[in-house]
Amino acid sequence: MKRELELNVNDELWEVNVEPHKTLLEVLREDIGFTGAKEGCGLGACGTCTVLVEGAPLLSCLTLALEVQHKRITTIEGLVEGGRPDPVQKAFIEHGAIQCGFCTPGNILSAKALLDRNPRASREEIEEALAGNLCRCTGYQKIVEAVESLVGSE
């Protein structure tokens, strides 16, 4: 039985009519159309589906959409403001932290959440915060450097 859900994604309210067992990832991708969140494993083991809920990273493949009604959900698309990318997105670009890009939305959102919470994060803290976001291409060095470049820069 489908249910009417109201989701606050990227500062907009979306009404969707979905099966209650649908994951947030499925609803974002299929019902709303934010395909920036990716399904790399569907089992909570890769981080490509990471979104922010109330500013904290969450694996949307393990979360039912129904659980996060009325919460502030941010996807990678929501970091762009007025056509301008977020500083974290910019840092990833400028530091060459992006190769195939499939892990990128998840990595950027995890980094964003870390920096919001801990703007002076150390290298170890950065590595730990990103350990749940696998990347098969970059070897993480440039990803960590990108995040480090933002530490204490505000």
């Binding site: 990716k38 569907g42 089992l43 083991a45 890769c46 499939f102 350990a131 696998l134 098969r136």
Partner: protein, 764 residues
């Protein structure tokens, strides 16, 4: 590296699509959606070896929302595959050869219904005896997987160059050792997928996660008996490939069939479990190496024997086994070389190309053994390598010709940078340092078509469109082509749009493999851009009353040499060109393949297969915890002769990615098989890859000089570096604690066991 005469080449630049990727706008196969699209799912065999006797899909078809079921009886049974002589796949099998081998597929209105339908398909099998170990499979009377291959040997590759026996006789010291490298998953973050649209004219349009759209087109047309020109393949963004996405997958054939049958678009996206267990893996190899050296360290002869586990199908077997032998001849001068390579079918997941195609396994073995030899003859391992290093101008005994080779410099500079002499042999610290050298092709010569092509159109406003058949899978070749175009035309990279690849609109291309793309497509782009340039220079020369030879392109302007004030803005020149003469278009067309290669002789395998070769040295520093057996890689230093670097950011990215992957291969990654040949760990929970916590910083020292053949002198780096990562680490472990691991992966248990064994041996 960077040169003052270049405006773009040698300058670090983010990928041209980095913004799209960073903002979630880049579209991968799973992000596409078409009206009335159905979801397709594959059904795999539960048996490792079984004939499909009958299929009853009536219950599945009766389920609401199910639109079609297809099986092996719906395909023609026409075999396809990368190599003509080894075609052995049909799309959906009538005889399953491993657990998971796709035997049927279903299309339904949504994923849930499709999955439910799979459970309702009942298949009657005739279960056959199966074999899981390649050496068992080679025995007389072993179950045979494919009728054409007795004893299951699908590739039987032998070299005999020089006189190995004589070389061993002339040696002062000979060693024979045995090594094993584990099977492994590519672990691309994007599971592969396909979306097929079939229209009333009989045309298929497929969006798919591939490294070689033209290859998928060829196989699909073959398997379904439809004209090649009725299949269009479009490659969207691809989330990594590492060799795993070169070939056609049953999902391509199944989705096309289902789309045809239902007259609706069909999308199949593999689950992670399928991505790991029913696509391709790296071949496990048993490697036997015998090497003879003189007292001064000169290698006199080498014999390598490899038994590779093919799994259920051939994939690129003959190429991989050829490479495995060939790659032994690249880094060092070996006057006498003998090789026996066997790739053997077993009832397990299919082995195929994986970054470093066939070279990783023997490199691990040979580089490990070289360190053992160095110890035996009391020589520094770096000095031993330097003693034997290949040089510019060398032609190997197998016919490979090195038009540029800075391996000696790579060894010298990287050991200096890593403080090799100071750090070697400090066992009391539990820290060690080890090295390995390697070399790799810049695109191996295949039979038939190997060239790449690029077309360049100049738009009325001076924007430039590059059309190429090259496949960017994340490594950044679109950016490379944009950079080359921008360099030649004196325009910013942001003025260049790259369209690649689409079998209908871009030039035919073999694909992304064999580290060929910068070399081939880079040169094709250079030719096309220079054509554009000369067309425009001619017009500029007339307009500015100068000689075309004196026209320069820089800063979005077209100048007369020596007169910075005499110029026309690039966009304006293009506009003026339109009205020139009878009105003309500015179009450049380039195609390129090296002319100094030969297809290796079918019998002897003699021949220069690549226009040039990369060379590398990798030095790893590790710390071993004697209590836990844990190893931490502390630092990696790389000397890589990849010629002139076009984009340092991309080159570093490849290097860092190789170091990371090497750490995973050395310690963590391996696909594990159960009693029935079924894969036991097809998930990221059980198949472990390195995270930032296990990674080590990589430092590159510059060693390359421009190569005479590569574009601006560039050579490959995408694969050649990975092959030296693992042996450098394993050699460093030996330097740290004196234990030699010959079977990968290196686990804490193996380290502890070896330490214990060493201690007992020391006491007795």
């Amino acid at each position: 590296m960077g040169s003052e005469t270049y405006s773009q080449v040698g300058k670090a630049q983010p990928q041209i699509d980095a913004l799209a990727k960073a903002t979630g706008q880049a579209k991968y196969t799973a992000d596409f959606n078409l009206p009335r699209m159905l979801v397709g799912k594959l059904l795999g065999s539960p048996h490792p070896h079984a004939r499909v006797l009958s299929v009853d899909a009536s219950k599945a078809i009766a389920l609401k929302g199910v639109k079609a079921v297809v099986t092996g009886r719906d395909v023609l049974g026409k075999k396809y595959g990368m190599f003509k002589s080894r075609r052995d796949e049909t799309g959906l099998a009538l005889k399953a050869r491993y657990v998971g081998d796709p035997v049927a597929a279903v299309a339904a209105v949504d994923e849930e219904t499709a999955l439910e339908a799979l459970d309702l398909i009942s298949i009657e099998y005739d279960v056959l005896p199966a074999v899981f170990d390649p050496e068992e499979a080679m025995k007389e009377g072993a179950p045979q997987l494919h009728d054409e291959y007795e004893r299951n040997v699908v590739a039987d590759t032998h070299y005999d160059f020089g006189d190995a026996d004589a070389g061993f006789k002339e040696s002062d010291h000979i060693r024979e050792d045995h090594f094993f490298m584990q099977p492994n998953s590519h672990g691309c973050m994007e599971p592969r997928g396909v979306l097929v649209d079939y229209d009333i004219t009989g045309k298929f349009t497929m969006w798919t996660s591939t490294q070689s759209p033209f290859h998928v087109r060829r196989d699909t047309s073959r398997a379904l008996g439809i004209p090649l020109s009725k299949v269009r393949i479009i490659k969207p963004h691809v989330g990594g490939g590492f060799g795993g996405k070169i070939e056609t997958h049953p999902m391509h054939i199944a989705a096309a069939l289902l789309a045809m049958k239902t007259a609706r678009p069909v999308q199949i996206i593999l689950s992670r479990e399928e991505e790991i267990s029913i696509t391709r893996i790296r071949a496990a190899m048993q490697i036997h190496v015998k090497t003879g050296v003189r007292k001064d360290g000169a290698i006199m002869a080498q014999y390598v024997k490899i038994i590779a586990d093919s799994g259920a199908y051939s994939s690129t077997s003959i190429m991989m086994m050829y490479n495995a032998g060939l790659s032994c001849m690249i880094p060092y001068r070996i006057p006498n070389f003998k090789y026996d390579g066997y790739q053997v079918y077993t009832n397990k997941a299919v082995s195929g190309p994986f970054r470093g195609h066939g070279a990783n396994q023997p490199r691990f073995a040979v580089e490990s053994q070289l360190d053992m030899i160095a110890e035996d003859i009391n020589m520094d391992p770096a000095a031993l390598r330097l003693r034997n290093a290949s040089q510019t101008g060398d032609t190997t005994i197998s016919g490979l010709n090195f038009v540029s080779c800075e391996l000696s410099r790579a060894i010298e500079e990287s050991t200096k940078k890593a403080e090799w002499d100071k750090k070697r042999g400090r066992k009391e610290t539990n820290r060690g340092i080890g090295m390995a050298c390697g070399g790799f092709v810049c695109g191996a010569r295949g039979a038939g078509h190997t060239a790449s092509g690029t077309n360049i159109h100049v738009n009325e406003d001076g924007g430039v469109t590059v059309l190429s058949g090259a496949s960017d899978i994340g490594q950044g070749c679109n950016s490379m082509m944009a950079q080359i175009t921008a360099e030649e035309l004196g325009i910013p990279v942001s003025d260049v749009t790259v369209i690649a690849a689409d079998t209908e609109t871009t030039p035919i291309d073999p694909g992304t493999f064999s580290s060929r793309v910068t070399f081939y497509s880079g040169n094709a782009t250079l030719i096309a851009a220079r054509q554009v340039k000369s067309q425009l220079a001619e017009i500029a020369a007339t307009l500015m009353e100068a000689s075309a030879d004196d026209i320069l392109f820089r800063d979005k302007k077209v100048f007369v040499k020596g007169s910075p004030d005499r110029f026309i803005p690039f966009g304006e020149l293009v506009k003026r060109a339109e009205g020139f003469g009878h009105g003309r278009l500015i179009i450049g067309q380039g195609q390129w393949a090296p002319t100094n290669t030969q297809f290796p002789d079918r019998k002897t395998k003699w021949g220069n297969v690549s226009g040039s070769y990369s060379f590398s040295t990798q030095i790893a520093e590790v710390e071993v915890d004697r209590e836990t057996g844990q190893v931490k890689v502390l630092d990696v230093t790389i000397g890589d002769d990849c010629g002139q670097v076009i984009n340092p950011m991309s080159v570093e990215g490849q290097a860092e990615g190789s170091v990371y992957m090497g750490i995973g291969h050395a310690f963590l990654e391996q696909t594990i098989f159960g009693d029935n040949g079924q894969m036991m760990n097809p998930s990221f929970l059980d198949f472990k890859m390195a995270t930032p916590l296990e990674c080590a910083p990589a430092t590159m020292v510059e060693v390359g000089k421009p190569d005479p053949i590569g574009p601006y002198g560039a050579k490959e780096i995408g694969e050649g570096l990975l092959i030296t990562s693992v042996p450098a680490i394993v050699n460093a472990i030996y330097d740290a604690v004196g234990v030699r691991i010959k079977e990968l992966p290196v686990t804490p248990e193996k380290i502890l066991d070896a330490l214990e064994k060493k201690e007992t041996e020391g006491k007795s």
